[in-house]
């Protein structure tokens, strides 16, 4: 491998974070510029990798491998396939737009950006990991800064509670997953943590069935699977805007991705065995999350629960274990990531101006910030699976795969899509087109140029993929094929 692009992407944020920490705290402007530069580098490099992906060969592209702790069979091994590549790009997009949106954070921006970048490195590290230890290592790196970011910069009312809840959930989940991972390590007898080697370890059916739930559900906690979804809306709401974007946009994908990468790909027979349960839980996710979103009066909680609902679709796609469903799930991870980042950005912009998130108290924002309204509507159309937007490109294959696997679940899950339309329309109607309360009249200003860039970028991506699915779908399919080979080409 000539150019270690994945390593550079992974470490750019953390290096930038450390440099930022060395700057004096009062040089806020320099800190912000540095943060933006680092985020831009990460975005451009991941975009470059994304667009040159097709030129490389093999299941895993841009592979790098160095010995790390050889005695234990641990190596620094990275590479991306068709499913993780879009997620790397997603992380680049969210970190970039997150920095843009957080430009005006005034409370200790130095520490804020530093922690955000540590988080980003953790996330990149997981998406590119081809070594189980490596994956866990970065997974924990990603979870920890979350606690500080929420507890320090979060919404004053619930931040301690939410930060604690989130951290405990995720640590417990990861510990359970770790137990499963260690079981695989010892059982394989290969003395290696290498994922590609473990895939070929040939675990017995009984072993797979026993350990699959540990690994899958341990990670799926971070993916928000019912009934372990509860940390996520609280966490989303308490977090500051950029962190919510990261949290819902990328971090939940981290859980889903790890559940897929370690759970399904290493223990495919276990996945076959447990898939009915996953389908049941994920179907609950979809309908339950959407219906709770419908009755929330807090704008941000609506979006928080909508993530629970949409991640259910990802899990449904996984559980089909067929080509359509898995491809759809891969696309949905990206599409939902971008969409929810956009949603939280919009919520943040509204909240910054209105200082309330109670939907009945808001209104008329379309007039003062039309672009934000358009952005939200685009996100809403994505979330309800409107053709021409990325949501449709993702949800249609999921339903197609699900119908082949379990039509009844498909019939129930589509109800979630109708409810999605209901809550999106409710917000559009009240927050953007409702009557503006007197208190805001003339006091609410427009958004900054940076905000606009972020909105346009996020909406543009969702529309581009919706209109031209060939930008992403074929790539995801190459990843799906790898999984299908392991699962046995169902």
């Amino acid at each position: 491998m000539d150019f270690p692009v994945l390593s550079i992407i992974t470490f750019t944020p953390i290096v930038a974070g450390m440099v930022i920490l060395c700057l004096p705290a009062h040089r806020k402007r320099e800190i912000r510029i540095l943060a933006l530069v680092a985020a831009t580098i990460a975005l451009l490099l991941s975009a470059w990798a994304y667009f040159t992906f097709g030129q490389a060969q093999g299941d895993y592209r841009f592979e790098e491998q160095y010995a790390w702790i050889p005695a234990l069979g641990i190596s620094y091994h990275v590479g991306v396939n068709g499913i993780s590549m879009p997620l790397v790009l997603l992380t680049g997009i969210v970190i970039f737009t997150g920095v843009l949106i957080s430009w005006n954070i005034d409370d200790r921006p130095r520490e804020f950006f530093a922690f955000l970048f540590v988080l980003a490195t953790g996330v990149f590290g997981v998406f590119v990991a081809l070594d189980l230890f490596h994956l866990f290592f970065f997974y924990e790196i990603a979870v920890f800064p979350m606690f500080l970011l929420i507890a320090i910069w979060g919404w004053k009312v619930t931040r301690e509670y939410a930060a604690m809840k989130l951290t405990l959930y995720l640590f417990i989940g990861s510990v359970i997953a770790l137990v499963g991972a260690l079981a695989m390590y010892f059982m394989s007898g290969l003395n290696t943590f290498d994922l590609l080697a473990l895939e070929q370890a040939g675990f017995s059916t009984a072993f797979q069935r026993f350990w699959f739930p540990f690994v899958f559900f341990g990670f799926a906690v971070l993916g928000g699977i019912f009934p372990f979804h509860n940390w996520s809306p609280d966490g989303h709401v308490a977090a500051p805007t950029a962190v919510s974007m990261f949290h819902a946009g990328v971090l939940m994908k981290l859980g889903a991705f790890a559940a897929l990468r370690v759970g399904i790909m290493l223990l495919p027979e276990g996945a076959q065995f447990w898939s009915p349960l996953i389908i049941i839980l994920a179907t609950i996710n979809v309908v339950y999350g959407a219906s709770i979103a419908m009755v929330q009066s807090d704008f941000k909680y609506v979006i928080g629960f909508s993530s629970v609902s949409h991640m259910g679709l990802v899990m449904l796609g996984f559980a089909t274990l067929n080509k359509d469903g898995l491809t759809g799930a891969g696309l949905q991870m990206f599409s939902h990531g971008v969409m929810t980042a956009l949603f939280f950005a919009v919520v943040g912009m509204v909240y910054d101006r209105a200082h309330t998130r109670e939907i009945p108290k808001l209104g008329g924002f379309a007039k003062v910030m039309p672009l934000v309204a358009v952005g939200f509507i685009v996100g809403g159309l994505v979330s309800m699976g409107m053709p021409g937007f990325s949501g449709f490109v993702a949800e249609f294959p999921i339903f197609m795969g699900l119908w082949q696997k379990q039509p009844v679940a498909a019939l129930i899950a589509v109800v979630g899509i109708v409810i999605t339309a209901a809550y999106v329309m409710r917000i559009v109607r009240q927050v953007f087109f409702g009557k503006m309360p007197e208190a805001f009249e003339g006091k609410v200003g427009g958004v900054t140029t940076f905000d606009k860039i972020a909105l346009v970028l996020l909406s543009g991506i969702m529309i581009s993929i919706g209109v031209m699915p060939s930008l992403m779908a074929p790539m995801v399919e190459t990843g799906t094929e790898i999984i299908l080979r392991l699962v046995g080409g169902v």
Partner: protein, 712 residues
Amino acid sequence: MIGPELLAFLVPLPPLLAFFVIVLLTNRKNRLSHRLAVGAMVISWAMAMTIFGLAVSRGDLGHHPIAASVAWLPMGEGVLNLGILIDPLNAITLFFVAWTCLAIFLYSVGYHNFGKPRDPQDRAGLPPKAGGIEPMYARFFAFISLFAFGMLTLSVSDNLLLLFIGWEIMGLCSYLLIGFWYGKDSAKRAMVKAFITTRVGDVFMLLGIAYLYAATGTVNYREILFDEHVLQTLAQMPSVIGGLSAGGLIGLLLFIGTVGKSAQWPLHVWLPDAMEGPTPVSAMIHAATMVSAGVYLMARFFPLVTIGWHEGGALTPTMTLVAVIGAFTALFAATIAVAQNDIKRVLAYSTISQLGYMVAAVGIGAYVAAVFHLVTHAFFKALLFLSSGSVIHGMEHGIHETHDHVDPGDMTNMGGLRRKMPITFWTFLIGGLALSGFPLLTAGFWSKDEILADAFAHGRMVIFVVLALAALLTAFYTMRQITLTFLGKPRTQAAEHAHESVWTMTLPLVVLSVFAVAAGWAGIPDHFPVIGGLIPNWVHGFVGGTLLEHPEAVAFSAVPLLVSISVALGGLLLGWLVYRRVTADAKDPLARLLGPVHTLFKNKYYFDELYDLIFIRPAYWLAETVSYRWIDRGLIDGILHAIGRFALRVGAFLRNVIDLPVINGSADMFSEGVKGAGRGFRVVQTGRVQQYLIVGLLFTGVILSYLLLANP
């Protein structure tokens, strides 16, 4: 290469371009915006007519359609292609869509008071009060352009996916346009209601598409519907629901989409409320195009809906359901229409009713009749809506002049408008007669008669009687409408001062009236007494070619003909007799006659209230109380917090019972012991050097003696 294929690809694009240009560039320039929109529509219209001409002149279009496609979404083993198909059904759909859209575009210019100055009192999101230009004039044209794009896309598509895209674009535009005057609360409610109700149908339709794709590996119409082998497989493949074949279930799922889009019972509730939008919107979406899309879908998937059925044979379960829902809707909506006073609402319910006719026709296998009625209905219903818009416009004019603030859409405030608005009167009359099925002359007669004849000929007596009753009511409420609106004397000052509308509004009316009459002549059955065969039955020959096997024409029978003539004339006569003497402030004569039944009709059988009671409230209760409060906050968080508290208790226990007494205690004991020892030894630390020296000497002595004694 400019072939008909390329042309078909291009047809939908001009309005899309117009949409983008207006939204992004010209949305402050009213004149330029409407020129762009209307110009784009003219281009699309011209292309559509060229294609139609080519299609008609091509022999055996059904087997040799104009078709082409490009790859879009790679999926599973194959690739989803997006392409165009001009077969007879698409050609004829394209024909009426292009005409009605063009008429509606032109009409909108006048309807939104182009050329008048902007009234400073008017606010965006509310209808202009005093005849000033619409504040969001350019935006309106952007939206209807996008809408036209959706419908044209649907009309030329060769597969279900592209159809669905057009379908959803229209759903979105319908939402935006119903809520065009979003300042009105009723409009906001209506827009959401319309969107969500149709969405219910849409998601099931989406599942139908997914199922179809999963079963056949394609969503292309011709690969499924024109391939006997595929159809046979679908007919024999068992589905998840016992007793239904896969094909039947797919047909049913698609039909749910139609129920939503074409506002069939039980998803009909959104359409009447959708009248909150501007009138051109009502005409376009809720008469000519979008609601037609639902019936189009049924016509398109006719081979699938009727899978396992042979012409003349017993109906399949899916067909029976379709026929029953259609016929029931036709009668049910007609009964509501007789008791409405709002001119547009009557038309809305009549639309539901007429769509029910078409759906019933598909259900009984009367393919050509369904499509024929679809086409004629699009023309005469667009005409009626636009005429009613002209009436309302005239009334608003009168209100503005006289400051007699009455509801401009309420027919009881009208009367005598035939002298004030002669063109509108004549065109409305033509449309109304076509709707009632006025014998021989109007298009509505021929298409409606064909449905009745088919039902009768194949012995579907229940359907026949229900549809005939609905036809009677249709003629009745249409005449009621004409009488209340145009005949007699003006009942209010506003009606007295109403004016005829501008030419941009009346010209489209005249054009559409021509079609409302003449479109029927293309489908006169060959065996019709006297005039049959004078004009060849072009519709049957052309439309029938869409199917793999050309359907047989129904043999002539005098009974349905007499029935359809007598219900039409009888209904019209009754309507005139009952309503000709209505004066201002008089109670509706029908209300006196029917009493509480009339109240039931007037309140639409209380369906809105019923749905609120059995769906909406329980849904909210489930979501809010059960899911959120009980499960999420109660159970899950409860368990979590209990674990948290338990962990604290365990911590406290460990601290108080083990940590403090045992561990701390023993550590403390140890340290206390050390301290005690220290205190004890403190006495030796006196600070006197002499003492230390003595002690040192003593120790040295002891050690020396020990060493000497131990190692002799």
